[in-house]
Subunit: 135 residues, 2 copies
DNA sequence: GTGACTGCAAACGCTTTGCAATTGA
DNA sequence: TCAATTGCAAAGCGTTTGCAGTCAC
């Protein structure tokens, strides 16, 4: 798990808390909230404080080691950035989320650049709607 | 201002508070937050409670008289729905927001439908990035 | 008159912060 | 050793809620 080393290399300390947060992020199959990270970490190592979760996520975000996704609602979601950027289709009916690869948005990016002179930074995009099962 | 009548027709009461909230929404040039609505309403009619703003916005949303936009961050933005759906390009550097018309996203919609069997409900989309001045 | 509406105050959920105690290098 | 990191408790922010009083119809 090289990201443990990565933290050290950048001059930060490796603590059990940070190690476990990294592990949880690593094992997570999809985006998780600070709340979920906290729950999972506490299952293994009781009494890690929530503010530690938040501070660690801030740090990892600053170091580009996690991606932060605002999927709507009032929560933020995080995932390991080595899992690549991608986007989400979220069914407003059943809640299913479909991941789509970043490249699918290249035509959109080009259009925004050509027509609006705008360079989009599309790391996460949440698009709401209806999935097949629900239409 | 027919939306005042519209409320009545649907069986709701017209109060000074609701009237002013509608006016503020009407005069707003762009999306505004409940906070801003509150400030503007209070400038004319002191002491309208914030919960009234929230409850009125909920009502108007239910009646499809306002659109709610989650532009990221922890705030919600509102605007009169008769101003039409549109999207936003938000410069992460200078904060400028550029409105773009809904039709610009038709190719994207078609792609999501064809490739992912997903029917997007794209009423508001916020795309972050860099505007011309900031690149 | 009466139920829809408002103001108030308290609580919510998620996140941030100041500070003293702890701990990794 | 000693600055970086943590836990704790409190506060921040935008929003929601229960309730008693008021007001549009």
């Amino acid at each position: 798990m090289s990201c443990h080393q990565e933290l050290k290399d950048k001059g930060y300390r490796m603590t059990p808390q940070r190690s476990m947060i990294l592990d949880v992020l690593h094992q997570a199959e999809k985006h998780i909230t600070p709340e979920e990270i906290h729950k999972q970490v506490c299952a293994r190592f009781p009494e890690v404080n929530k503010s530690t979760i938040y501070r660690t996520l801030d740090l990892l975000k600053k170091l580009d080691m996690v991606d932060e996704a605002d999927l709507g609602g009032n929560k933020l979601y995080y995932h390991h950035s080595d899992k690549g950027h991608h986007h989400h289709l979220i069914c407003q009916n059943c809640g299913r989320t479909i991941e789509i690869e970043e490249e699918a948005f290249n035509p959109l990016k080009d259009m925004l650049k050509d027509k609006y002179n705008f360079s989009p930074d599309i790391r996460h995009l949440a698009i709401f709607g209806q999935c097949v099962n629900c239409t």
